[in-house]
Symmetry: C2
Subunit: 165 residues, 2 copies
């Protein structure tokens, strides 16, 4: 009763993976908040990175996040409100509103990346760098098939990616 989900090694592994993810994210967001970036969600970080890497319209962002353009639009207004992106009309295509990451946005991205990597380094120190590399290599291999599947669909929507716990 005190130990959640024993009994199935498989389920336990799944929980462990989820727990690891949440552990990292909590850690990073806590530190991020105390460095002037409060209210940041993991999805904000990932969306901001996607924008910075070229997904500079709502529809494009939705595509690269494998999410509807409406959902992408919602995170854009959040990012805008937080001061991480700005939106301005495209001079050559009046339908588009071009996105660009602000200085504050870049600061958040840099700090987030550094914090994630810091957590990763702490893990590496605990279990050994080559062990952590091995762990990553394994996870990459183990999820490659599915990633490929999901990526192929591109704007795929019959995958229920939002069903995590």
């Amino acid at each position: 009763m005190m130990c959640p989900m024993a009994r199935s090694p498989g389920a336990e592994l799944a929980l462990l993976l989820l727990g690891g993810f949440q552990s990292m994210v909590d850690e990073v967001h806590g530190e991020l908040a105390s460095r002037g970036h409060e209210g940041v969600r993991a999805s904000h970080e990932f969306a901001l990175r996607a924008i910075d890497e070229g997904a500079d319209t709502a529809t494009e962002l939705g595509r690269s996040l494998s999410v509807s353009k409406q959902a992408a639009a919602k995170v854009i207004v959040a990012l805008e409100r937080l001061g991480y992106v700005e939106r301005e009309p495209d001079p050559t295509d009046a339908r588009l509103k071009r996105l660009h990451v602000t200085a504050r946005g870049h600061d958040m991205m840099a700090q987030g990346a550094a914090l994630f990597t810091e957590v990763r380094n702490r893990w590496a120190a605990q279990i050994g760098a080559e062990q952590l590399d091995a762990l990553e290599a394994h996870l990459t291999r183990l999820t490659r098939n599915r990633s490929a599947r999901t990526k192929d669909l591109a704007a795929g929507l019959d995958e229920d990616l939002g069903n995590a716990v």
Copy 2:
């Protein structure tokens, strides 16, 4: 643009962990659906297990899931609708409605556990059993502190556990 979230090894690790979890869950639920258990969510499996392990009232379930009793009540009606639990008034305490897992519920639990373990075995076959054991041991260690923290709060609510992705 095609490769999501490069640039930060730490963020990549986090994504890898999340991807691993989702990969397992998707796999299991797909198979579960094709075996007569459609509409099952990960939360259903975990809640059902908690109920079976003794959390046989709504409030108790909420406690053992670290969630409000109202949220627990919602998953209970879902489980009831799916035929996995039944609810009947407690003869000795008229406030309580005692929960019990149905035969169908036990079947789902068994199949779910078996499928999770099957996925885990496939992973073990791919990366080696002792490597997988090592991976689990590492994740356990790496998340132990946080788990302990979270567990201590018990009905804690200042942790934003729902912030995954």
